[in-house]
Symmetry: C2
Subunit: 216 residues, 2 copies
DNA sequence: ATTAACTTAATACGATCGTATAAAAACAGC
DNA sequence: GCTGTTTTTATACGATCGTATTAAGTTAAT
């Protein structure tokens, strides 16, 4: 009938930290549902049952919200790994393996959760704000891993470069995460790690050096 | 001054297959430049120095163009692996290692190339058209890998499940690719694979079983 | 030279994007 | 119960999105 009348709805106030978390949670859900390319602040706000303006009010921009969501998701891995490292009376080797196991623990492997973290890796490729958060997170993560690796290798006086070993272990973890995010529940991630680190040598590895040399 | 007058530019005709490839190449470049979320058919057409309508004329949709670009990029890995497998007089084990080495060969590791293939993994998470192409590609890839693994294991009468070993190797490859796409040239991918498959056992692995059991 | 088949370009359409602004609603302190 | 502050909503803006339509240009066959 009539033209547009401004009809404001009622609402309840909440502390900013709660609203921020609601938006972060909604961003996480939207990322899983719609992917990194089809996500928008409008869809996020609707998912959170909040108005569009809330994003700008509580975050500087969409990118900022994405970065904060990445930080939140990563904090959950950190909880797992720190719990593992808080165990007492572990040898350096046991500490390293506890760390790796924590990364592949069921609690850290919720399908949507791994999927979202994976999507952030691709966002980090070209989104500077996300990239900054990504780099901070993985610099710290890799730093912790490198410390554990070094402790193990100090005891063993190996000729290997701890940095290379660390990168190799990062690749191993990320690879298992990627497989999991694209096709969850095909294989137990802990078994995969175990297999790669302990089981493949005798079966598959005796000829790698030769094959590499032939192929290069 | 005057209103809009339709001023058509001159152009030269090319066979559809050439125009299609020009659009695919442009899509690849745009994906690297702008990422999976900020790519658009307009930007792609501009990059190809063609008009917007060309996308719809040569492809059914944007998603179709993306899927075709993924297929094109994957065909380049396939070339590498098939070249490796065409080598004669290799033992099953050598064939497997040649395959893995081919996946990590410099020619397959152009930074932009790995980056783009990586971005398609994230697109495949929610884009059905891309997902379909992705699944076809990796089903075939994984099938080839599984055959090689089985051949090795038949000779060795291991108790391991070839499917699990195959998934583990897929994770290894993807992990190295991901590391490479986020930070190229930090470590030689072939060395990483070699390290994981041959070098880590003695150093790091003797306690994994125990750590896994403690943590679960 | 004309025509027919086709590429290619130009443009339109409705929808949605991220951000910005202003008004209304809620609440704390008095 | 009023007042000032801050949260929240509503709405506007210009830009860009994917797709569809139409017209113009090119080419090859007649």
């Amino acid at each position: 009938m009539s033209g547009k009348e401004s009809v404001s709805r009622s609402f309840s106030k909440k502390p900013p930290v709660e609203r921020r978390q609601e938006l972060i949670d909604a961003t996480f859900r939207c990322l899983c549902k719609y992917g990194a390319s089809d996500i928008s602040v409008r869809i996020i706000a609707r998912e959170a049952q909040l108005s569009l303006g809330m994003v700008r009010h509580h975050f500087r921009s969409k990118d900022e919200l994405l970065a904060e969501t990445l930080k939140f998701l990563s904090s959950k891995v950190k909880e797992q790994t720190q719990k593992a490292l808080s165990m007492k009376d572990l040898t350096p080797s046991e500490r390293l393996h506890a760390f790796i196991s924590a990364c592949l623990h069921p609690e850290a492997l919720d399908a949507n959760y791994v999927k979202a973290r994976f999507l952030f890796w691709s966002l980090a490729q070209t989104n500077p704000t996300v990239r900054k958060a990504h780099d901070e997170i993985y610099r710290r993560f890799e730093g912790e891993l490198r410390t554990l690796v070094s402790d193990v290798m100090d005891n063993q006086r190996q000729a290997l470069d701890p940095d290379i070993v660390t990168i190799a272990l990062m690749a191993l973890l990320k690879g298992i995460w990627v497989e999991w995010s694209l096709a969850p529940n095909r294989a137990d991630p802990l078994k995969l790690a175990e297999l790669i680190l302990t089981g493949l040598q005798g079966t598959l590895s005796e000829k790698l050096d030769r094959a590499v040399q032939k192929n290069s």
